[in-house]
C-alpha cells in the first residue's frame, strides 16, 4: 500500500494522523490572475523534493499523476515485486481519478484568457485522466491491461475492485491499482463552491451541525496480487480483498439512494460470513453533507439489521477531507489497517448527535477493536456506488 494524504505522505504517517484524530483541514487562499477565494481544504504538503526525484517525465506531469507516482513507489517497494518482462506482461495498472488534470486545465485557460498566451504544449498529456495510469506503466514497465477508471467519489473503490476482478478472470497475475486526485486550484474550487455543498469551517460527518464537505487531495495506490502467486514467492500479504460490490442508483445526479448504497454493500459482502457484527468495521463514505450521512446510515442499517448497532463505523474524511476520486484509495488503507492493527480510526469534529444518524461512528477518538471484516464505502455523485471488503489472510 502507498499513501499520499493530507495527514502525511506515507502509510505510517497517514495511520499516525488517523489514530491521533488529527484534522488536516485548514483555510487556504487560491488565486488566479485577479480572482481569488479562501476555503477550508485538506492539502498535501512537504512532497516537493520527492516529486523532483520522480524523473523528467513525471516532473512535468500534472500533480495528480505525481501524487499517484509517489504512492505507487511506496506500494511497489512494500510489495517486493520486481516487474521483469514476464511479470510486467501479466501486471495490470488501473489508476483512477475523479476529475483528472484540473489544475492543468486551469493554467491553460489562465494563460489564454488572462495573459493572451497559448496553453503549454504538454497541456493535453498532463490533463488526460489516464495520465497517472500511463505514467505508472512507463515507470514500472508494466504492460498488462491498463486504463483509468472514473466514477467521481467512487473511483478509488472501482479501481481496486476492477483490478481484483481482472486478476480473478485470469487477465493478470498482479495489478498496480488505486486512485489520485489533485484539484486544489482556483477554478476547480470556485466550481465546487458554486454547488453550495462545501463546509464553511470543517468537515463534521454524522454530526447534527455538519454543513458540507471539504475538498482534499492525495493518492492511495496498492499492489494487488493473485493469492497463490503471492504465497509462492513468500510475499508479506497484508490482507485479502474478499468482496467488491458495484451498482448504480439510476435516479439522480446529486441525491443519494438508500437502496443503491445498501445494494453495493450487500454485493461486497455476498461471499463473506460475518460471525459477529462487533468484528466489522465500516469506513463510511461519510461526506459530512446533509443528505449523504443519514442515507448511508439507513443503508448500513438495511444491510446489517439489528447488528448495525454493534458495528464500528467512522468517516475518516473528518480528518483528511474528501479526496474525491482518491477517497476510496486512502480510505481502503484506513480499513485495512483497522483490520491489521485492531484499531478503528475515529470520526473527529463530531460534537452533536443527530437522531437521523444513529450508529456508533467512533466519535473523536480511535478505539481498539478486533476487526475481522473491513468495508470501504464509496458513493459517487451521479449515483455510482462501489464498496470493497477486506479480510485477514
Amino acid at each position: 500500500m502507498g499513501a499520499v494524504t493530507p495527514l502525511g505522505a506515507s502509510v505510517d504517517a497517514f495511520w499516525d494522523g488517523l489514530t491521533a484524530g488529527r484534522c488536516a483541514i485548514q483555510k487556504r487562499d487560491y488565486a488566479a490572475d485577479r480572482f481569488s477565494l479562501t476555503l477550508p481544504v485538506a492539502p498535501v504538503d512537504g512532497v516537493d523534493e520527492r516529486i523532483k526525484g520522480l524523473g523528467v517525465q513525471l516532473m512535468r506531469a500534472d500533480r495528480f499523476s505525481q501524487l499517484a507516482a509517489l504512492a505507487a513507489e511506496e506500494a511497489v517497494a512494500q510489495s517486493g515485486l520486481e516487474f521483469d518482462e514476464a511479470l510486467g506482461a501479466r501486471t495490470a495498472c488501473i489508476i483512477g481519478t475523479g476529475i483528472g488534470g484540473q489544475s492543468t486545465f486551469d493554467q491553460g485557460y489562465i494563460s489564454m484568457l488572462c495573459r493572451e498566451r497559448r496553453p503549454h504544449p504538454l497541456t493535453i498529456l498532463k490533463l488526460i485522466p489516464n495520465a497517472a495510469a500511463s505514467h505508472l506503466t512507463i515507470k514500472y514497465a508494466v504492460k498488462g491491461p491498463s486504463f483509468a477508471v472514473s466514477s467521481a467519489c467512487a473511483t478509488g473503490a472501482h479501481a481496486l475492485g476492477v483490478t481484483a476482478e481482472l486478476i480473478k478472470s485470469g487477465a493478470a497475475d498482479a495489478g498496480i491499482a488505486g486512485a489520485s486526485e489533485a484539484i486544489l486550484c482556483y477554478g476547480a474550487l470556485e466550481a465546487w463552491k458554486a454547488m453550495h455543498i462545501l463546509a464553511d469551517e470543517t468537515c463534521r460527518p454524522f454530526s447534527k451541525n455538519r454543513n458540507g464537505l471539504v475538498i482534499g487531495e492525495g493518492a492511495g495506490v496498492f499492489v494487488l496480487e493473485e493469492e497463490e502467486h503471492a504465497k509462492k514467492r513468500g510475499a508479506n500479504i497484508l490482507c485479502r480483498l474478499s468482496g467488491f460490490g458495484m451498482n448504480a442508483d439510476g435516479k439522480d445526479m446529486i441525491n443519494p439512494d438508500v437502496n443503491g448504497a445498501a445494494g453495493a454493500m450487500k454485493l461486497a459482502l455476498k461471499d463473506i460470513e460475518i460471525a459477529d457484527p462487533k468484528s466489522v468495521y465500516v469506513n463510511a463514505h461519510g461526506t459530512g453533507t446533509l443528505l449523504n450521512d443519514p442515507t448511508e446510515t439507513k443503508a448500513i442499517r438495511s444491510v446489517f439489521g439489528a447488528g448495525a448497532d454493534d458495528l464500528a463505523v467512522s468517516s475518516t474524511k473528518s480528518m483528511h477531507g474528501h479526496l474525491l476520486g482518491a477517497a476510496g484509495g486512502i480510505e481502503s488503507i484506513a480499513a485495512i489497517l483497522a483490520l491489521r492493527n485492531g484499531v478503528v480510526a475515529p470520526t473527529v469534529n463530531y460534537d452533536e448527535p443527530d437522531p437521523e444518524c444513529d450508529l456508533d461512528y467512533t466519535p473523536n477518538e480511535a478505539k481498539e477493536r478486533d476487526v475481522s471484516v473491513a468495508l470501504s464505502n464509496s458513493f459517487a455523485f451521479g449515483g455510482l456506488n462501489a464498496v470493497v471488503a477486506f479480510e485477514k489472510v
Binding site: V56, H120, P121, L122
Partner: protein, 82 residues
C-alpha cells in the same frame, strides 16, 4: 545570430534537467536529460520568448538524428529562418 544563439542556449538550459556540466555547442544531447517532448517545450518557449514562429510539425521529425547541442541550435535557427 550570436544574440539568437545565446537566447536559444538559455532556453535549452532551462529544460536540461539532467545537465551537470557546462552547456555549449559541443555538449552531447544525451547529457541534457531531456526526452522527445522537451523539444516541443523548447520550441514553445522559443516562440514565446523570441516572438518568432517556428514552423514545426512533430510528425515530420524535422530534427532527425541530433548528437550535440550545436546540431539542435542549427536546426532551430534553420526553422526560425523559414
Amino acid at each position: 545570430m550570436a544574440d539568437m544563439e545565446a537566447s536559444l542556449l538559455e532556453i535549452i538550459k532551462e529544460h536540461a534537467v539532467g545537465l551537470t556540466g557546462e552547456l555549449n555547442r559541443d555538449t552531447p544531447i544525451a547529457d541534457l536529460g531531456i526526452d522527445s517532448f522537451s523539444v516541443v517545450e523548447i520550441i514553445y518557449e522559443v516562440e514565446e520568448k523570441l516572438d518568432v514562429e517556428v514552423p514545426f510539425n512533430a510528425n515530420e521529425n524535422p530534427f532527425g538524428e541530433m548528437a550535440t547541442v550545436g546540431d539542435l541550435l542549427d536546426a532551430l535557427e534553420n526553422l526560425i529562418k523559414k
